[in-house]
């Protein structure tokens, strides 16, 4: 890539944002980014789309990855975001491998729950693996998703997170060019 961020910043970030918006207002719905040319060796297309669309100088980013340096350089180059080693300080966290606990991140303050960290968790599959049934605002009845390569005890962790509402982290699950959003309001019922 010879450009910084999206090639066509205005329209590509608008298009990507609308997909992220669609995913977040319909939790469990799989949305697809069509601009495959942005994928990296360590970052999938959907992770890069979120990074280019939402990150900038004002967002602290925490990275958990075996390729931490490469990803850190990529994010610094394309968004200018400060990288932090402190989970509680992070506005966004990019996680490509390894287990993680949601409650070690910033879950917001009683009076400012919007200060919570948004996790971008890159997983292995959204069509094979374990089944989960979701329920909560944005979902008509219930939504079934299938995931592989997620943090251990995923169901318990998601439900512990949503039981803290209005506090809690918000989650983007990314895989290849697909995205599923799990806001803190969402419970896994099965």
């Amino acid at each position: 890539m010879e450009h910084v961020g999206f090639k066509n910043k205005t329209f590509e970030s608008q298009g990507a944002f609308r997909l992220i918006l669609q995913a977040t207002s319909n939790p469990g719905k799989k949305v697809k980014f069509m601009n495959d040319n942005y994928s990296q060796k360590d970052l999938h297309t959907s992770s890069v789309n979120i990074i280019f669309t939402l990150l900038d100088l004002d967002t602290n980013v925490f990275i958990q990855s075996a390729q931490e340096n490469t990803i850190s350089n990529f994010i610094k180059l394309h968004t200018g975001s400060p990288i932090t080693k402190n989970k509680v300080e992070s506005d966004f966290a990019v996680v490509t491998d390894g287990d993680l606990d949601f409650d070690s991140f910033n879950e917001g303050l009683d009076q400012y729950p919007d200060k919570a960290t948004t996790l971008i968790i890159q997983i292995q599959s959204m069509s094979q693996g374990e089944d989960f049934v979701l329920s909560g605002p944005g979902i008509k009845n219930s939504n079934r998703i299938t995931l592989r390569g997620i943090p251990h005890n995923f169901k318990e962790k998601v439900n512990a997170n949503s039981s803290k509402f209005p506090l809690g982290v918000d989650i983007f699950l990314t895989c290849k060019n697909e995205l599923i959003s799990l806001p803190r309001t969402i419970k896994i019922i099965n």
Partner: protein, 276 residues
Amino acid sequence: MIDGFNFAYLDEATKRMIRRTILKAICIPGYQCPFGGREMPLAYGWGTGGIQVTASIIGMNDTLKVIDQGADDTTNAISIKNFFKKVCKIKTTEVTENATIIQTRHRIPEKKLSEHQILVYQVPQPEPLRRLEPKEQETRKLHAYEEYALMHVKLYEEISHYGSVIKTYAYPVRTNRRYITDPSPTPKFDNPKMDFMEALQLFGAGRERRIYAIPPYTSVKSLDFEDHPFEIQTWDERCDICGSNNSYLDEIIVNDKGEKKFICSDTNYCEKNIKT
């Protein structure tokens, strides 16, 4: 597009900040998210909050509808539509079901909205508790600790003084059984439409610098008491133009003798009714 302006007027950094705020607002339904509201080329009170939200989500493929008290052809609606035509060159429409984004000032269209639509409200005062507690530090705590007794006492006092809750617009609602939310000054007639609405609802308050949201399929209940359930307005009259007896009616004085008529507030709904 005119030269010297970015698409949709706002610069990309501002849009990014507003987009992050919108996402957080959806994740915490009914919570008022602070954002860095920008000065817009029109005065506060004319929809600067709604315009900033619309400008941050709109793209070339969108079709925009703007209504002012249900009407497509009033000053505020026409001006905002012209603004977006100028800075985005997007398509606009008056037909509710053809719009992908509907920006509104104080009405929800009579036609049921779908999952593919986004409703953007212009909000003058996002804080439902403001008249009861003027300090922001205090109202913030009241929301944080879910301390909503003040609001219930207010409604109770209205019932004990007047026999019923007298608030007919900006009637407070409870979003997702948690935050008390201001539905913007829409008539309470529209409150039931917000409950489990299929469309995403975004609220922008420019002067107060707050954005809040209600995701689709989310519980939105108007506050009431078991023995004084919430009720919407009803009319004995029908619309003088289309004859509708189930839409929100505006009362208009038609001559110097004070004679009056009732007409639909939603002009697009009224027009369709005449045709069929």
